[in-house]
Symmetry: C2
DNA sequence: TTGTATGCGTTATCAG
DNA sequence: CTGATAACGCATACAA
């Protein structure tokens, strides 16, 4: 790979001048610029961004940590973020945290050591203190789907409790009174919040908690299958099933079918997230919309504004979930 | 962030020695090592990998280019690759090519300028010549799902033609004779190959091509919807529908339902890829399995072996697709 | 407008 | 086994 030095030699100018036309920071005489550009062209020169990064302490790259690279939710999120940054000439470096505190910390440290200008984090396992400390270290970052006291201005969240509330409230309004709930792992903030919303809705209708109608799943499809089967075995009948995400709802739907029951006639099912295959299910899944794309875009804009000083007006920090009624309720 | 220099000062050794304990390249006296480690600990030192990369011309990071970050196919692929590398202490930098030659080239250049030790490419738009040239430049890379003459040893592919053949052959064996085909964009290698397989199967059964039973889609769900509707309008009836991927098959299934037809009684449908939500459809989708996970893992191993000299034995270059029979046929 | 010199944080090549 | 010291490729004050 050609270096800036070779370019300067070929163009008959100093190395500094080449750097100037590359970054077009200070004015360069037109003739000189042309000479340099010709030389770059001829040598097929591409700046070494590692060296640029080391010298300037800026990398034009943004680090992203998500729990998993696969799955419809993260795919959509990553896709949107990458799009937004590519349009701005920035690049993303992605790492997976696998919902594990060590791996999450690891990923963050890795990205920081790669000189990322900013981070976008969807982390679930590291504790609040770590994040607050991270903020104090001066590293700019946004937190997605999690509200941490002390760094509220860096948090972009969905009102998960409200979403959980909406789902159950809808079931109640439809006349259901025996409502089962398949939760995500309760140590995850969003799972806990969604469940809180569920309880709140029940309380509003004067319905007490029934442990036999609760199952703590894993946010995966199998969690939905196991959840439904487990709930049936408890012996307490129910006519509605609220699932804390669409994957589990899909699993539950399969299990309901296998149990020979009809949806929604015998069991109504609702999910959460509105991931893009939620209408592939049969019947099409009623769910709570999680505006992933908007949130991803907002996180990217936060960075563009705060770190790269782009003129961006409306930064929205809290998103409100919406009920999407389809055929499973 | 603490630098290696500060560590050396605190430990009372030279900067070079610190570097040695970090990389434990040449032996260091135990006492010295302990002093240095203590100093690193105290300062919370983390090596700056940008500087490491610049100095060593090695980055321990692998660049990956895929068409999209979202979607079940790429999600699974990325996830698997990242897993494999993380276990080996390597990291991935991901860029999207969006099936566009300029963006693909751009992504590749970006990754190369980030000093990636190797690249894993799932590119569709850049031409063979570019890739051959890239290989000659000395950059190690593997190509996924594409066979390019001259650099066969860097290609890891699925036998797409065989897959296309299997799908249609199965329909024929089931007694279908009027078989419609919804293809991917034919400029994409895999789409073309799958279609070739389809034609081959037809030919084997002595059935000629019928333009009215062909539709060129976009590999997206909507392509399946539009495809089915278009095919019906052609007036030529068919009892089987072969789709070049599962997304289009899902769309087609929806369209078939909306047309008031039963699957598989009136129209049998088969997909391709066996992406993980293909059993969420109703009825569950018969399809051709694309072993994404294995292929992703193989690509990662190729790099570990060839670039990092890890002792890995079995590198498989060609994968054979398999028919997965479910309920849609 | 352009050139010179220095530094960014490491690795690597030499001597000791 | 350890310590100077020169790269690595580029950005950037400072001069000119």
């Amino acid at each position: 790979m050609a270096t800036i030095y070779q370019v300067s030699e070929l163009a008959g100018v100093s190395l500094a001048t080449v750097s100037r036309v590359i970054n077009n920071t200070v004015p360069v005489r037109e003739a000189t610029r042309l000479k340099v550009e010709a030389a770059m062209q001829e040598l097929g020169y591409r700046p070494n961004s590692v060296a640029q990064s080391l010298a300037s302490n800026r990398s034009n790259s943004i680090g992203i940590v998500v729990s998993e690279l696969g799955g419809p939710f993260y795919g959509e999120l990553l896709s949107r973020i990458e799009n937004e940054f590519r349009a701005a000439g920035k690049h993303v470096i992605i790492a997976a945290g696998h919902s594990n505190a060590d791996l999450e910390r690891d990923s963050i440290e890795f990205l920081r050591s790669r000189n990322c200008d900013a981070l976008i984090l969807h982390v679930e396992a590291v504790d609040d203190a770590y994040l607050v400390e991270l903020a104090e270290s001066g590293l700019p970052f946004v937190l997605i789907n999690r509200m941490v006291a002390g760094i509220e201005e860096r948090c972009i969240t969905l009102d998960n409790e409200q979403g959980g509330y909406l789902a159950t409230e809808y079931m109640l309004q439809q006349g259901h009174r025996d409502i089962a709930y398949i939760s995500g792992p309760l140590w995850k903030h969003d799972a806990q919040e969604r469940y809180n919303g569920h309880q709140k809705a029940l309380a509003k209708f004067g319905i007490g908690e029934n442990k036999a109608l609760f199952y703590e799943g894993d946010f995966q499809e199998t969690g939905g299958v196991n959840g439904f089967n487990h709930l049936r075995e408890q012996g307490h009948t129910f006519t509605a099933l609220v699932c804390a995400n669409d994957e589990m709802a899909s699993g539950a739907i399969t299990a309901v079918h296998e149990a020979g029951l009809d949806i929604p006639e015998q069991v109504a099912v609702i999910g959460f997230d509105n991931i893009n295959f939620s209408h592939y299910t049969h019947p099409k899944l009623t769910t709570i919309d999680y505006p992933v794309a908007e949130i991803g875009q907002m996180a990217a804009r936060w960075v563009l504004k705060r770190v790269y000083q782009r003129p961006i007006e409306d930064l929205q920090a809290l998103f409100i979930p919406q009920l999407i009624v389809r055929d499973s309720t």
